[in-house]
Symmetry: none
Subunit: 215 residues, 4 copies
DNA sequence: TTCTAAACGAGACGGTACGTCCTGTCTTACC
DNA sequence: GGTAAGACAGGACGTACCGTCTCGTTTAGAA
């Protein structure tokens, strides 16, 4: 088990790595993505450019890593959606929060940068899905499955599809700035989704038996 | 108010304009958007760089204009969706066609470039909506209204929302490469949309009896 | 005779060229050669780096060109050594002037830079000889030939060798800082050279016979 | 005076020191001086960079030390010129050997590197003179003094000047590549030097008659 | 038909950022 | 404790484009 490698310098490495990611995040949040330069990141992080290029192959990769780290920080922790027992309530809560998040200018810039990256780089897109999107989707699907068990959602529904119908309109409206992201809009997406994938009435079980589903 | 200008050179202008837009389209279709340079466009179009900058303020604007022109070309013509009388049939046709379109690599690159532009530039986004998105949406809404009239779609449905629920999942799946764009997928989006916004025909209940449920 | 070439931009070209060479000269005169950077030259000249690299392949070449230009400036003019008729007087005048020149710190730095270049690059050395050294040597040899004609110098002397014996010690002492460059030293080099290559006494003609030709 | 040090790592020290100097020599002999890097030296010597910087303050110093060591190696030995009793013979032997030495490409690169260093660094130049040049010059002067004693050289000649007249032309011709370094050339330098500083035996004239010509 | 002035192709220009390389210092692990 | 390994901050390198400017050269309309 004796490895032949050199020293790991792990403390310095970690310190500079964090400084770089933090500086990147700050810069991307501050100004338009295309104006963020590797030189500025290095300067802000108090780091030589080579230290950046030693770890990442391009600006895209650094920015992407910085944004990934943003969501990964609480390492071991697994995300979970609220579960009050009422799907509609929970979804509206989550969707309204999501809509609000997009309103924050610095969050907006960060996510636009991230989307620009992954839209134009299939590899980064794959990494994004694996590291960020899937865990989040799993959490959401867990909530949906729990709803399926209590008959608040069609047991046969394709959960990926459900999530897309729920989230994609919000995402697209934000990305294209094609309309306001209000709470009412968030609610109406939940309503539409539940109409599309809610319990199939008259298949042996009555919703009413399980208690009220609507607000 | 008659100004004393020289010859208008309109023929040359038009020729070089077309050459620029065509070269831009070709380059964007060929390689990653960020590798398309104004210099390359000028060279390919057999044009001086200044001739480009005389007309457009930035590379973004040229690319955007090139893509706009792509869809505007059949000038006077107004798009219209098929109307067989059956909304489900028509929508599935359209959605399957849309899904196929995205599969063409050069179309893919063009639209990714366009989306990158408008995602990061609010002004271009506005122009995009005005010139491209809205006319298309109007055509789609016209078809939906026709469906409302024959009771194939909830008369109170917010048509913008309907279109988002229908298209946004497809768009997002394409943009993030998060799943295959099959005909079955296109169909399932139509199905879901129709479940969400179709006629409110309960089992043994008339739509009118239940009244609108939405807020 | 209609040429197919583009515009010559000669005025801009010449202006920026002069600015670059002047800035280079100033910087090389100011500080150690190795601390002169292309970036500093560009900044001082108010010029983009690319404008330098468009003309010269390396820093060496720019510096070399700057130093060449320094001596070439009076374009058509051909150098000539004084000719009073007395070789010893003339040579001592020239050698003392040369010794003094080397004492000027900014001249010193310039010439050290030049020598560093040509010592390490055979091509530059060839160009240096052709453009700077040879014309100067020709002027010197012209004076020596005139001396040979009046019997003040051995008619069979190899003039290249004479010049080397005369100048090389001064040059080496300066380059290696191995001794002071005084007027007395300059004189003693002339004396030694004249002893080595002066008229061969007793070969039929006495110098005195021809009488002094000087002023 | 025995100093109280720990385990005397002197052997390791000496080993790594030798490895560094040897690697430096090899690299300088192999390629252009400016392409020799400290990193390459360290790698070739199998040594950490810090081990180099612990001993020498800069790359210049390492290279200089390497070249110094080259000539110092036979430590206690003091150089001496041949003395056959005939100065001309001895000098021609030495000058021809010197000229040949310069023809060796790897020697050439080494000495060019050395000259570049000392031409641009007064401190190194001083060290060079003290450690390398002066001992050698002393040896040469010893031979000249011996010649003075037997009347083969002017007893009043400034031996530094004699050496310069003898060697500097060869050195300059080599440094500037301004001519071939042939045996005939070497001989002609000896001849010229002896004419300039040889015994003052005029044909039928006593030296005293002419008197010193110098100022 | 000749003249004239705008628009043009070409491409140099001042800049900015890129990604690479090397210097001289610092840190870690090993011996 | 000194060493090999090599990461680090810094900074120059030479390249690629940007958007501007400056040339001669079309070229199409007005004279």
């Amino acid at each position: 088990m004796a490895h032949v490698k050199g020293p790991d310098h792990s403390r310095r490495k970690e310190r500079s790595r964090q400084a770089i990611l933090e500086a990147t995040r700050a810069l991307v949040a501050e100004e338009a993505y295309e104006k963020v330069t590797v030189e500025a990141i290095a300067a802000r992080a108090g780091v030589g450019k080579q230290t950046i290029y030693r770890r990442w192959p391009s600006k895209s990769a650094v920015v992407f890593a910085a944004l990934l780290a943003l969501s990964e920080d609480p390492d071991g922790q697994s995300v979970a959606l609220p579960d009050t027992g009422d799907l509609e309530t929970d979804l509206k809560l989550v969707m309204r929060a999501t809509a609000e998040e997009f309103a924050d200018p610095s969050f907006d810039r960060l996510i636009r940068a991230l989307n620009t990256e992954i839209a134009n780089d299939a590899e980064l897109a794959a990494e994004y899905r694996e590291k960020l999107a899937q865990p989040l989707e799993e959490a959401k699907k867990a909530r949906l499955r729990s709803a399926q068990e209590v008959g608040q959602l069609d047991a046969d529904a394709d959960l990926d599809l459900v999530l897309e119908v729920l989230y994609a309109p919000l995402f697209q409206r934000w990305l294209h700035r094609s309309g306001p992201l209000t709470a009412a809009y968030a609610d109406s997406l939940v309503d539409a989704t539940l109409r599309a994938f809610g319990p199939r009435t008259g298949v042996g079980s009555t919703p009413g038996e399980l208690g009220p589903v609507d607000s």
